[in-house]
Each structure stands twice: as structure tokens, then as C-alpha cells.
């Protein structure tokens, strides 16, 4: 299979990765090669197999629905590039 430039641009947008034209072309070529390799998966018969969800055999990890200590607001905000009062500040969501 061959990825198109548009497909690569679409995936980059889904991933919110700003790529240069040169990067776009490089990843198009490299993903093509990698995907051609991983396509061998299709040769493995998995008709009788269910997919792995949790390799350690755990199903659900429950805890009591109780209040407990958590990260204080100030600590959570120490690394914030932009803050306003007790909030993370972001730019306009709608353009």
C-alpha cells in the first residue's frame, strides 16, 4: 500500500502534530516501509483468538468511592505555562 500526502496530513492533524513539508514527505516514505512490514500480521490466523485486554489477568481494580488526599491545587499548577487564578489558561477554542 502507498500512503498519500493527504492521508499523512490527516493523521498529523489527528495527532495535533505541526509538521513541515519536508517532515510530511519523510514520514510518508517511512510509514510506507513500516506498514509494509507490519502487514505480515495479516498472514497470522487469528480466527479462533480473542484480543489481549490485560496481560496480567486483571479484570477490574475497584476501590471504595471515598474522598482521599490528592494533589493540592498549587502543586498541580506549578508547571503551568499560563494560569489564571486556580485554572490553566488556554487560547481561543473556536476560531
Amino acid at each position: 500500500m502507498t500512503l498519500s500526502r493527504d492521508q499523512v496530513a490527516h493523521v498529523a492533524m489527528l495527532a495535533r502534530l505541526g509538521l513541515s513539508d519536508e517532515e510530511m514527505e519523510r514520514y510518508r516514505e517511512q510509514l510506507d516501509i513500516i506498514l509494509a512490514h507490519v502487514d505480515r500480521l495479516q498472514q497470522v490466523d487469528t480466527s479462533q483468538v480473542t484480543e489481549t485486554a490485560q496481560i496480567g489477568g486483571l479484570v477490574n481494580a475497584w476501590r471504595e468511592d471515598q474522598r482521599s488526599e490528592c494533589l493540592p491545587v498549587e502543586a498541580a499548577l506549578t508547571n503551568a505555562p499560563r494560569r489564571r487564578r486556580d485554572h490553566f489558561e488556554v487560547g481561543a477554542i473556536q476560531e
Binding site: S20, T46, A61, R82
Partner: protein, 494 residues
């Protein structure tokens, strides 16, 4: 040169010196730091822990003075940890520009348990960006050199953590292993490196790469030291919902039982074509040694091994693309200011991530995108089941598996420039992550003057058995005592 001649101590040596009063935690931390500074040309250390080291050394000194009976084997012993583990107040960047300046507001469980055991973290080690790589050439802060030959790679992604132990600067370190990132650098640097069973060590406070595969584990010069560190960090943690509630088997009881009467399997598919002759020779000699020690060796087959690489390179990138979505320039890390939020995301991530991380995010996003999910991600998770079941069946016949860790010795920097040939470095280690098994690499020879690693793999939660086999081999051989020719110049032997 041997390590004894080089004056390189083990955890056990330092522990006994500390308890005798022949050394202090502060002095050992200072020596470790001097030794690390002496190998600065290897670019192994990203930063020193400063105040945290001082505080911990003082705490250990108090314990040793006031209640020596409570001081465990790690109390006062210096170590280094990979730049993906969070310690409160110490910058942690995952080897990435996007997290430059990030100072975690809390300490992760594995590190926290080592602090509780009195161990003294002195340095944060270089690694591949977000633990993605097999050569430590993907760090935003420059590549790491192998102490055996600085022009060669130390392996990856925990290359710095392997190199600091190999160079004798610290007696142990912590790394993480998602597809071989502890075992492969351990092999290439000639030290012991252990990836515990998935879920055995809490991942709380570990910057996530691929959550269903990631596991924290130790590097050390002795299997016994690996066991001490494992014992300190293993066990259930309510903060990590994938951490296993099963009790941890006591390791020390089993460690010295030897391999007499054990059945060991050699997976036929792991003696791959691309294996270097010197690696094959060393591995075959190791097999013979294990037989001499009373184990019976037999060939087993894991036929789906060949699909392992493809399975891994769908699942790991898919999970990383989701995990790394949090690197968005809003709550921490790099922030490229733009009026519209979408542009902030695009520019922050476009500038903050390096080429390999972008490649894997692209691959993973593609594999999870609408219309491709079934063909790639779901398919890969089914093949993963087959790979795990094949291991389980093999373990009905044998107690553990033995094989090479890496098909090659350490290669020159820049030798694997295309992504696929780099991915092939992990072909013998990543099936173990897919199946959630414990695996260790220990030194078993030299080829062209460079270390070769023997991998021991066990059934899930039989971590102690894996360490027992490794320990038996180590006691019968001297490969673990080999030191790299280029040793740290600074720092007097303790």
C-alpha cells in the same frame, strides 16, 4: 581489567561497609558523583539530584546510627535513575525538549520505595526520548556513549542507566523496559538488567510510553543486588490499577538454589539468522555451562515469534500516541503561544517532539484511526494473545527459557539510520513484554572485546525463578566481573 582491580563496589560491598561504619552515605554519594563526573564524556547524566541526595544521605546516616537493625541492604547506597521517573522537586524531562523544565510535584512509587529503603539517588540518567529507541541516540540532550567503546551505542532506551553501572560509577540504577529497554542495554554494556513481570512494579510516577508494556526494573553488577532492588520496589500499589495484588514471592530464599534438575528451554526461533557468530559462540557456551550445573536443556518452539516485531510496532505506537496526547503545552512543559488553542497544540508538539517520537505518534495515530483500527490494533492484540499462549505452553514443558538478549554486540553510533533496522534490535526482547513475562539479561561473554548478554525468561510472576537461574550462572562464571577498558578517571575507590 577486573572490577576488583578497579575498586568497583557492589550493593552488598557498600551495604556491609556502611553497617560496619567503614563508610558514610554522604561519602559514598560524593564518590558516586565524582565518578559520574569522571565519565562526563559519555553524556550519561542529565542532572544531579542535589538537595534530594543530601537529604536522603542524611536520612540514611540517621537510620544507620540510631536504628541499624532497621537498615536494609540498600540503606545509604547511592544509585541513579532514568529520566522518566518522577521525584518531587527534581526536573524530569523523559529525554525530551517538550518536558524541559518540568519539575514533578510528586514522587513515583518505585522511586519512593527506594527512598524509604534508605537508598540515595545521586543522578538522573540520559535516555532515548520518551524511552523510544534502542541505541540512546534519540535523546534531545545528545547520545550516550558505551563505556566499553564510547564511539559505540550503549543500547536503549535506558542507555544511561546501563552505562553508569557498567562504568562502575554507581552500584545500581533504575530503568524502564517497554520492548527491551532494560535488557538490551544491559547486554550491550555488560551488566545485569531485569524487567519484572508486568504489574509487579507499580508504574505510578513513570512517564508513560506504552502502558500495557512498560515496566520499571533495576540494573546492577550482581544478580543478588538486582534481587535486593527488586524486593524493595515490587508489590501492589493502589495508585496503579494495573499493579498486581498477588503477593510477591520472597526472592532471597530461592536465589541460591541452583539449577540442578531444572528444565530450561531454548526457543529455536531466537537463534536468528542475523546473529553475530561471536554472540552465538558465547550463548552456546552459556548453554553448556548451565548443563554442567545440572539443568537439562531442550529446544522449544515459539512459532509466532516472527510476528512479534509487527505486533509490537502497532501496539506500542498506538499506546504512545494516546499517552503523549497529554503533552499539549497547557498544563506543563513547552508552550508555544498562539491565539488559537489548536495552533498552540500543533506548534508545541511539532517543536517539542523529536523525529522518533513523531514517527511513532504518526504510526500509532494511523493504526488507531477510523477504518484501520480492526486491521491493525485489534489484529495486533489478537496476535499478542497467540504469542502469550505460546509462551504459556512452553512453560508447561520447561521451567524457564534461555536465549540471547540481542543478536549483536554494541554497534557504532549512526550505524542504524533507517527506523526498521533499529526496530529489529529488539526482536529477541519485545515478545517478553507482549506476554508480560519477567526477563533478565546477564553478561555471558565477550565478542570482539564487547559484552554479550544471556537472557533468561520465566512464567508470569515467577520473577524469583528467573533471578535464581541467572544467579546460578553468575556464580559459576566470571563475566560479570569484567570491566570496560575505559574507566572513570576521577573518583577514588571506596
Amino acid at each position: 581489567m577486573s572490577e576488583a582491580a578497579a575498586g568497583v563496589p557492589t550493593v552488598a560491598d557498600l551495604g556491609s561497609a556502611l553497617r560496619r561504619g567503614a563508610a558514610t552515605p554522604q561519602a559514598l554519594a560524593a564518590t558516586a558523583r565524582a565518578r559520574l563526573e569522571g565519565i562526563s564524556e559519555l553524556n550519561v547524566v542529565l542532572r544531579y539530584t542535589g538537595e534530594l541526595a543530601e537529604r536522603q544521605a542524611a536520612r540514611a546516616a540517621r537510620t544507620l546510627a540510631e536504628s541499624p537493625e532497621t537498615a536494609g541492604p540498600l540503606c545509604g547506597v547511592p544509585f541513579a535513575y532514568k529520566d522518566v521517573l518522577c521525584a518531587e522537586g527534581v526536573e524530569t524531562t523523559a529525554g525530551s525538549r517538550i518536558l524541559q523544565g518540568f519539575v514533578p510535584p510528586y514522587t513515583g512509587t518505585a522511586l519512593g520505595r527506594l527512598l524509604d529503603a534508605g537508598a540515595v539517588p545521586v543522578a538522573v540518567t540520559n535516555c532515548d526520548e520518551f524511552a523510544m529507541g534502542s541505541s540512546n541516540e534519540n535523546s534531545a540532550y545528545g547520545p550516550v556513549g558505551n563505556p566499553w567503546d564510547p564511539s559505540r551505542v550503549p543500547g536503549g532506551s535506558s542507555g544511561g542507566s546501563a552505562a553508569v553501572v557498567a562504568a562502575g560509577a554507581v552500584p545500581f540504577s533504575l530503568g524502564t523496559d517497554t520492548g527491551g529497554s532494560i535488557r538490551q542495554p544491559a547486554a550491550l554494556c555488560g551488566v545485569a538488567g531485569f524487567k519484572p513481570t508486568y504489574g509487579r512494579v507499580s508504574r505510578y510516577g513513570l512517564i508513560a510510553f506504552a502502558s500495557s508494556l512498560d515496566q520499571i526494573g533495576p540494573f546492577a553488577r550482581r544478580v543478588e543486588d538486582v534481587a535486593h532492588v527488586f524486593t524493595a520496589i515490587a508489590g501492589h500499589d493502589p495508585q496503579d490499577s494495573t499493579s498486581s495484588p498477588l503477593p510477591v514471592e520472597p526472592v532471597e530464599e530461592q536465589l541460591s538454589r541452583g539449577v540442578e534438575g531444572m528444565r530450561l528451554g531454548i526457543p529455536r526461533e531466537y537463534l536468528v539468522e542475523g546473529m553475530e557468530p561471536g554472540v552465538r559462540e558465547a550463548i552456546e557456551a552459556a548453554f553448556a555451562e548451565l548443563e554442567k550445573l545440572g539443568a537439562s536443556l531442550e529446544e522449544v518452539s515459539l512459532p509466532t515469534t516472527e510476528a512479534g516485531l509487527s505486533t509490537y510496532y502497532i501496539i506500542a505506537p498506538a499506546e504512545c500516541s494516546a499517552n503523549l496526547a497529554r503533552m499539549d503545552g497547557v498544563r506543563f512543559g513547552l508552550h508555544v503561544d498562539r491565539p488559537a488553542l489548536t495552533d498552540t497544540y500543533l506548534q508545541t508538539r511539532g517543536r517539542g517532539f523529536g523525529p522518533e517520537v513523531k514517527r511513532r505518534i504518526m504510526l500509532g495515530t494511523y493504526a488507531l484511526s477510523s477504518g484501520y483500527y480492526d486491521a491493525y490494533y485489534r489484529k495486533a492484540q489478537k496476535v499478542r494473545t497467540l504469542i502469550a499462549e505460546e509462551f504459556d505452553r512452553a512453560f508447561e514443558k520447561v521451567d524457564a527459557l534461555v536465549c540471547p538478549t540481542s543478536p549483536t554486540v554494541a554497534f557504532p553510533r549512526g550505524a542504524k539510520s533507517d527506523p526498521l533496522s533499529m526496530y529489529l534490535c529488539d526482536v529477541l526482547t519485545l515478545p517478553v513484554n507482549l506476554a508480560g513475562l519477567p526477563g533478565i539479561s546477564i553478561p555471558c561473554g565477550l565478542s570482539e572485546g564487547l559484552p554479550v548478554g544471556l537472557q533468561v525468561i520465566g512464567p508470569r510472576f515467577q520473577d524469583a525463578r528467573v533471578l535464581r537461574v541467572a544467579h546460578a550462572y553468575e556464580r559459576a562464571t566470571r563475566w560479570h566481573a569484567e570491566m570496560p577498558p575505559a574507566r572513570p578517571a576521577a573518583g577514588a575507590p571506596s
